[in-house]
Structures are given as structure tokens and as C-alpha cells.
Amino acid sequence: MINYLKSIFSGIWALMQGMYITMLNFCRKKVTEPYPENRGKHQPFERFRGELTMPHNENNEHKCTGCGICQMNCPNHTIKVITKNITTEDGKPKRVLDQYLYDLGSCIFCGLCTQVCPQKAIAWSNHFEHAVFDRSTLVKQLNHPGSKKVENPVVAKPAAPAAAAKPANDAPKDNNENKN
């Protein structure tokens, strides 16, 4: 009998403690981010992989040579590099990028393409608002119309701050010496 009453009162006490916690949170500052209102102010972090982009400089030039390494490394054929052959001014035939097609609708944002790109021609932007009504608009051409490859690749640095990953070759010097 005593146990019975005890269990009831200890139960009520524990329940009230639980209610105290919820009341505590009732009075706390709410953690909700007012999303559409805070657009622009509170974008995702810089490194967030939202969309693959090909940074162009002010002369509408990009750094892609159309080598297709990114296309080879993409696990699910999201990238399609279409090249064309042109003749340069001094008469040599040259292979240049024609269309850099990127299917946002099937990209898995693994970052392999930017990691392997020898020219660092592609980069991630942290833009995430992509929802559309029409599936076909998700296939994007990354090189701007009329753009061409930048002539002196040493000068220009990618404009986007989110130059996602350094390629493997850039890794710091041999670590074995640091070990022992």
C-alpha cells in the first residue's frame, strides 16, 4: 500500500520535472532560422557544395581545356564535356571546349571532379536554391556562351571563394619525415 502511494507520488514528481524542462524550452530563445527572410545574410557556409560552377573572369574566359578528366572521374556521368576542333590563328588545329554540360539533377556532390581537375577550372558555389518545375532545366551548360579558354592560365585565380579541394598532387610534402 505504501509502495503503491509512493510510486504514484514519485511518478507525479518525475512527470512534473519533465514538464519543467519543456517549460524551460518554452521560455528559451527559439532556434528557428527565418529562412526566406534571411536570404543573402545567412547563406550556407562557404565550403558548402551546392552547385558546380565554372568561374569566368571579366573577359568571359574560363580555364577549362576540355581534357575530360572530370568526366572520367564522375561516378555517375553527371558531367559531359563536348569538345570541338578549331584552327587557331597561326593555323594549328586545336581541341577546345565546346559545351560543358552538367546535370544538377543527378549530381551527388562528391567533389571528385574538382579534386582531379588539373586546371582548377571548375569550383563549387554554395548556392542551393535550385528547385524547378521542369526537369530539363536542371541540365546546365557551365561555360558561358561565347567564352573561351584564358590564354595565360598562371595569371587568373578562380573568382569563387569556394575553391573546394586541393588536388592530390598539391598535398603537403612527404609526411613520413614528420612521423618519427
Partner: protein, 211 residues
């Protein structure tokens, strides 16, 4: 309603992608001319419908976790009035296909969609639902849910951020606002009619015999 009159709180029309699709959509709707009275009534009804989109709790994989985040405190889709997730398709308005749909799941998704009450919408979330995504080459994955049910909004990402989903839902809201309520439903329904029919006949036979 014209596209340029569309209003979503704290968002401008230019902030949205794919506005040309909506323009075409409205043009098609208005082909036969619009009755002014019905137009106003439509606007009122669509105002209600667009602000009360109750999702079905349907999630298959990773995007489902981000969908849970949308419901949780940080993103909180309750602000838009979409938090009443219904577990029964009878009471839901929109189905979020959050995750991969495989061959075994495809008929289930189809059945759930079929069992929803009109007007109903589908939002495909993440690469898997849009195109098969990471699993494009798999032997068992449906290459995009639009192969089995009509999709209204595509939200890319793998998985998409909670805010990207909110953005997708606002797109949905815009589309609903443009619709003409009294002309619904008008979406094509992709069904292999005979197959399903034959199967259901068989099932009801089962029911009878077991009685």
C-alpha cells in the same frame, strides 16, 4: 492569376528559378479565356490551398533525414503551415519523394499516390528521385520517379539542404496559386491500367474466399 502578381512572403519573383515555365503554364490555362468571377474565386481557393500543403510522411533514404530536419526546430516548415504531416495518403496533399525509389518500392509509391485525394502534388527531392542520381547505373533503381508518377517540383541535391526543400515548397506554393481550381485534375496519370486492374480483381477474389 498572372505570374507577375504572384506573391510569396519575403521573396521576390525574380528570386525564383524557372519562371518561364510558369508563364507558359498560365498561358495554356488562359487559352479559353477566364471568367472573372471564377478567377476571383480561384484566387481565394488557391490562397487557401497553397498555404496548407500537408505532406505525406514518405521517406526512403538520406533525403528523408534532411526532410526530418525540415520538420525540426532549425528549419521548421511549420512556419509555412506545412507541418501537419499525415501518415495516411487520404489526408495528404503532397508527397515528398525523398530518397531512392527501387523496383520493389515503385508499385508501393504508385499505390500511395493513387490513393491520395485530389488535388495532389508530388515533389521529387534529391538526385535519386529526379533521375536515379547516384544509382543511375544500378539494376534495381527507377531512373526518376517521373517515370511512374507525375512530378510537380524537382529539388536537386544529394541530399538537398533543408532550406533547399523549403525553397522547393515555395515553388510548389507558387504553382498551386496559378492553377485553376475548377479545371482540376488535369494531370496525365501514367498507369498500366490493365495490369493493376487484373491484380486488384484477383485480390478481391482472395478477400471473398477467405470470408
Amino acid at each position: 492569376m498572372e505570374v507577375k502578381n504572384l506573391r510569396v512572403k519575403s521573396m521576390k519573383n525574380e528570386d525564383f528559378n524557372n519562371n518561364d515555365y510558369l508563364e507558359k503554364y498560365v498561358e495554356e490555362l488562359h487559352k479559353g479565356g477566364v471568367n472573372v468571377a471564377i478567377g476571383v474565386l480561384d484566387d481565394v481557393i488557391n490562397w487557401g490551398r497553397s498555404h496548407s500543403v500537408w505532406p505525406l510522411t514518405f521517406a526512403t533514404s538520406c533525403c528523408g533525414i534532411e526532410f526530418m530536419c525540415v520538420g525540426a526546430a532549425r528549419a521548421d516548415f511549420a512556419r509555412f503551415g506545412w507541418e501537419v504531416t499525415r501518415n495516411s495518403p487520404r489526408q495528404a496533399d503532397v508527397i515528398f519523394v525523398a530518397g531512392t525509389i527501387v523496383y520493389k518500392m515503385a508499385p508501393v509509391l504508385k499505390r500511395l499516390y493513387d490513393q491520395m485525394a485530389e488535388p495532389k502534388y508530388v515533389i521529387a527531392i534529391g538526385g535519386c528521385a529526379i533521375s536515379g542520381g547516384p544509382f543511375k547505373d544500378s539494376y534495381n533503381v527507377v531512373q526518376g520517379v517521373d517515370k511512374i508518377i507525375p512530378v510537380d517540383v524537382y529539388v536537386p541535391g544529394c541530399p538537398s539542404r533543408p532550406n533547399a526543400m523549403l525553397y522547393g515548397m515555395m515553388q510548389m506554393e507558387r504553382k498551386i496559386k496559378l492553377e485553376s481550381f475548377f479545371k482540376l485534375p488535369k494531370k496525365p496519370i501514367i498507369t498500366k491500367e490493365e495490369e493493376i486492374r487484373a491484380q486488384i480483381d484477383e485480390e478481391s477474389k482472395d478477400v471473398k474466399t477467405s470470408k
